[in-house]
Every structure is written in structure tokens, then in C-alpha cells.
Amino acid sequence: MSAVRPVRTGEQVATPEPLITIKSAAKVYGNNRGLSPLNLAIHAGERVALVGPSGSGKTTLLRLLAGALVPDEGPNSVSINGKSPANLKPGRELASLVGIVSQRFDLVPHLPVMHNVLAGRLGHWSLARSILSLVWPMERRAAQQALARVGIADKINERPGRLSGGEQQRVAIARMMMQSPLVVLADEPVASLDPARAEEGMALLVGLVHSDLGHANGDGRSSERALIASLHTASLIRRHFTRVVGLRDSRVHFDLPAGELDDAVLDELYDLGDGYGDVEPLAGLAARDG
């Protein structure tokens, strides 16, 4: 079981150029290795699940893709649609290239839901428009539609601090709809939700890249988009993703079509290696992350 599985690529979409190319990107924090030199190509239309024990490099990989971290080899070892996220300044270009939903959703607690949703447009708006929108909300209708799509249209004037975890996630997804990036990243987006909310939340996240309905402007780019999310639940991965990449010790451990993911593969990935192998690994990890 401890042998490294041969790396296999997931379903390939018939696009010649991959949307995302990671070429021997690595990140070292002091003495800790955040990510070993790693190669990965992801095509438009793919929905990739990242799995792996805590500390395996999932978050580092997502932050490299979001442009929040610069790879040790320089910004050019990560490329999305021909651009390097770490080279782009905050603004329209970066915002329409890549967006990230974090585990804690990171809404502004005192700002009404409407403005938290509209904040997804900040990269597209001028400063004057952003200021004006706090007084007279711009694109109010788009925000209403986004909230209606995630099923919480009635919460538009609430403050996020009063919402449940599931509702906060919906606000974060509505914000992502307004931002409408080519690549949606999600760092353990359902770790803090109960199984039913996790299922709904995952369906909404997939909707961001999988259907035109998921987007504020319905620009018909759905086939050009991709989703990359870290999570631990095999059933969610099989239902919602096309491909699964297992990370361990900051390296790619396996790379499979999501349909081929079974518990034995995950057991081996999460195996603690000293007699803990019999413990149901997913239940334990999910409970701790919640």
C-alpha cells in the first residue's frame, strides 16, 4: 500500500492548451516545505479536487494560483490563461482571472450582505464608483439575482455576523458570482458545514464554473472556466468533480479521474503509517476540520 501510485491524468477535455500550467513551482517557508517542485496542467472545464492530509501543501498550492504567494522559482512558473497571477496588480485583470473562496468565507461582518456581494465587483469598478456604491448601490439588481440564485434573496439587508455558516458561504459564493473569474479556487469550502449544507454548498460552487446560470452576466464562458477545491469527502468528490489530485508531503501522490476515487485510495493517502490505518480517516479529518 505504501508504494506511490503511478500518476495518471484525469479526463482530458479536447483543448490543446491547458488553462492552468504549473511548472516545477515550489514554496519553502524557512525550514518548512510548503510545496515541493510540482507540475500540473488543468484544462478549461475541469473541476479538480485537491485531497491530502493537513500540511500536504493544498493551501500553498491554492495561494500560489491566486497570486497571493510568489513561487520560489519566480512568478512565471504559474500560468493561468497565459498570465502569471503573482505578476498582476489587484484590479480588473486579476479579478477576472482568478478568485478564491476561503474556509471562513471572510465576509466583512458589519457591512450589509448586499455590499458584501457587490464587493465582488470592486476589481472591476473605479474608486469613485466604489465609493458611490456604498451610498447608492450600483448593480443592485445583479446582486439581488446572485443572492436569489444561492437561495438567500431575503437576507440582502442582513449583516453577515447574524447569518449561519451555510448562509455566509452562500454570500461568499454570490460575491464570487459577481467577480466572475475564469478560475475559481476554494480552500476547504465545506469543512465547517454539516453534510446537507456541504452538499448544497458544493453544488453551488460547481455551478460557478459549470453553468452559465451561475454567473451574474451569463457571458457564456462556462466551458472556459475551471474549479479547484480542497476537501476531504470522497462522496462529494465523486459527485461534483471530474478529477482528483492527492497531495502528500507536498508532492502529487496520485492524479485520477474523480470517478476512480475509492476509499482504499484515500485510506492510503491519509495513512498515518503507525497503526492508525484502520481508523476511518475521513470521518476523523472532517470532524477535526469542522
Binding site: A66, A68, K89, P90, G91, R92, L94, A95, S96, G99, I100, S102, R104, F105, D106, L107, V108, P109, H110, L111, H115, A119, G120, L122, G123, H124, W125, L127, S130, I131, L134, R159, G161, R162, R175, Q179
Partner: protein
């Protein structure tokens, strides 16, 4: 006694050392009380003895009686509508002075609360650290300290020097002093904010001013308004003191009536003053409840 105290409180273990500090603090406090009283009682000039002289109490009684109208000639100001109206206008002036003061302090603090916060100037909440940011941060902090360190009464004395008497110099003095207090408190609120929402906005493509506008400002605003309301309660009391310096309102009239021995008028002014303080306390509490979001 002192020496054994030090020896005993030498930390041998966490629990025991803490216990000894507490015990010796009580001993030291008791000793201080004894020394302080000995000092007061042995010093003939302390004026403490006056408290027990019959003369003092007679004077106090006489003063209270004259506040109540004893020995004054003519009708009491309490029964004259015109006197109520005139002093009421002064009370309104005082209220206006306090509101103007809070306006000055609030507007200033609102502008400075972000450049005065370290996590804004060093780029933690948005943007990159810059030399300009660090310089502005230092300048704002010095301004806060300077305006806060000089009491409102001293500010009023300085300002009355070059502004004609009235409620403006009083409001200016109170506003400047409170700018330092409210500004510093609010900047510290910003420094304690969770940076995660601001980072999320940055990831959504927002530039630094937009991050501050959407991620920082809305979070700091409720606390800012709360501080402002608290200070308003303090300011409405201090307006009278500042008014002594020809700065208008109830305070100026209070001083004049005292020096003319019009004790009944003084009593009337005190009634207005009390009404004003109670009204502002209630209003401030209501407003503070309103802004307490979440």
C-alpha cells in the same frame, strides 16, 4: 518589615509568589493610609481642621439658603418666565457648543483614523508598506498625543486669546482635545481588526483605498460612533468649565452671577445644567444602542 517582604515575595513558584504580592500590597496600603493621615493631622496648614469648625458649616448653610432665595430682594428668578427663557437660551448655546465640539473632534478623527492605524500604514490591511505611510502615521500619532495631552481648559485659554469670545472658541478647545482622545481610541480599534475580510477583498481585485473603504471602515464605524457619544457626555459637563473663560453658554453666566452674588440665578443655571446633562446622557445612551450592530 520591608526587607522581609521582599524576601518572602521572591518567586519560588507561580502560585505562592502571587499570593505574597497580594498580601504585602495590603500591608503597604495600610501603612500608606497611616502615613497619609499622620501627614494631614500634623500639618497645621492643611485646612483639614476647618471641616470641623462650626463657622464652616454656618457658611455652607448660608450659601445653600441664598441659593434657595433667602435674603434676596425682588421676585425669585424661578417664578419669572423671562429668566427661564434667557437662561434656557444659554443652555441651548451650551448644547450647541458641545455638538459643535463633537463635530470638530468627529470630523478630524474620521479623516485620521486610518492613517493613524499601524496596520493600515504598514500595509497589513491593504497595499504595500511605504515611507509616506510611515511618516503620516508618525505625524498623526504625535498630533493625537499633543491634542490629548493639553487639557481643554488650556486650549480654551489659548484660543480665547485670538478669537472673540463666544461658543466658537469653547467648541474649538473641546473639539481639539477630544480629537486626540476619539482619534486614538478609533485608530486602536482599526489596529485590532481581523485582517481576513480585508485580504479577501484584495483577492477579489480591490485596490488599497477600496479595501479600506469596504473592509476596514464599516467595521470601525460603530465603535467610532460609540466613542464619540461617550465623549459627548463628558464634553457637555466640561462646557461649563470652558465657559468660565468668556467662552459663552451657561459657564460664563455662572461665573458672572457668582461674582455678582446673584445666588438664586446661580441656582437656576444649575437646574438647567442638570437638565442638560441628564438629557445628553439619555440621548447618548439611545444613540449608542442604535449603532451597536451585531
Amino acid at each position: 518589615m520591608e526587607r522581609t517582604g521582599i524576601q518572602q515575595s521572591r518567586p519560588t513558584g507561580g502560585q505562592r509568589a502571587r499570593f505574597n504580592v497580594l498580601r504585602w500590597s495590603v500591608y503597604a496600603a495600610a501603612l500608606l493610609v497611616v502615613i497619609a493621615w499622620a501627614f494631614i493631622l500634623l500639618d497645621g496648614n492643611s485646612g483639614f481642621g476647618d471641616l470641623f469648625r462650626e463657622r464652616t458649616w454656618q457658611n455652607a448653610g448660608g450659601f445653600i439658603a441664598s441659593l434657595a432665595g433667602q435674603g434676596s430682594d425682588g421676585p425669585s428668578p424661578f417664578v419669572q418666565a423671562a429668566r427661564w427663557r434667557d437662561t434656557g437660551r444659554l443652555a441651548l448655546n451650551t448644547l450647541a457648543m458641545s455638538i459643535l465640539a463633537m463635530g470638530i473632534a468627529g470630523a478630524g478623527a474620521l479623516v485620521l483614523l486610518m492613517p493613524g492605524a499601524r496596520n493600515v500604514s504598514d500595509g497589513t490591511l491593504g497595499g504595500a508598506p511605504s515611507r509616506t505611510g510611515a511618516l503620516v502615521y508618525g505625524a498623526v500619532r504625535i498630533l493625537y498625543t499633543l491634542t490629548r495631552a493639553i487639557p481643554e481648559l488650556v486650549w480654551a485659554m489659548l484660543i480665547v486669546f485670538f478669537l472673540s469670545p463666544g461658543i466658537i472658541p469653547g467648541a474649538l478647545a473641546l473639539g481639539i482635545h477630544n480629537l486626540g482622545i476619539v482619534g486614538r481610541l478609533t485608530s486602536e480599534v482599526v489596529e485590532n481588526l481581523d485582517p481576513a475580510p480585508a485580504r479577501a477583498l484584495r483577492a477579489a481585485g480591490a485596490s488599497s483605498p477600496k479595501v479600506l473603504l469596504y473592509g476596514v471602515f464599516p467595521q470601525a464605524l460603530p465603535m467610532f460612533l460609540t466613542f464619540l457619544m461617550y465623549r459627548w457626555e463628558v464634553v457637555i459637563r466640561t462646557t461649563v468649565v470652558v465657559g468660565f473663560l468668556n467662552a459663552g453658554g451657561l459657564g460664563r453666566e455662572f461665573r458672572l452671577r457668582m461674582s455678582w452674588f446673584h445666588y438664586e440665578d446661580v441656582a437656576l443655571l444649575l437646574v438647567w445644567y442638570l437638565l442638560l446633562v441628564i438629557a445628553v446622557d439619555i440621548l447618548s445612551a439611545q444613540l449608542r444602542r442604535r449603532v451597536r450592530w451585531d
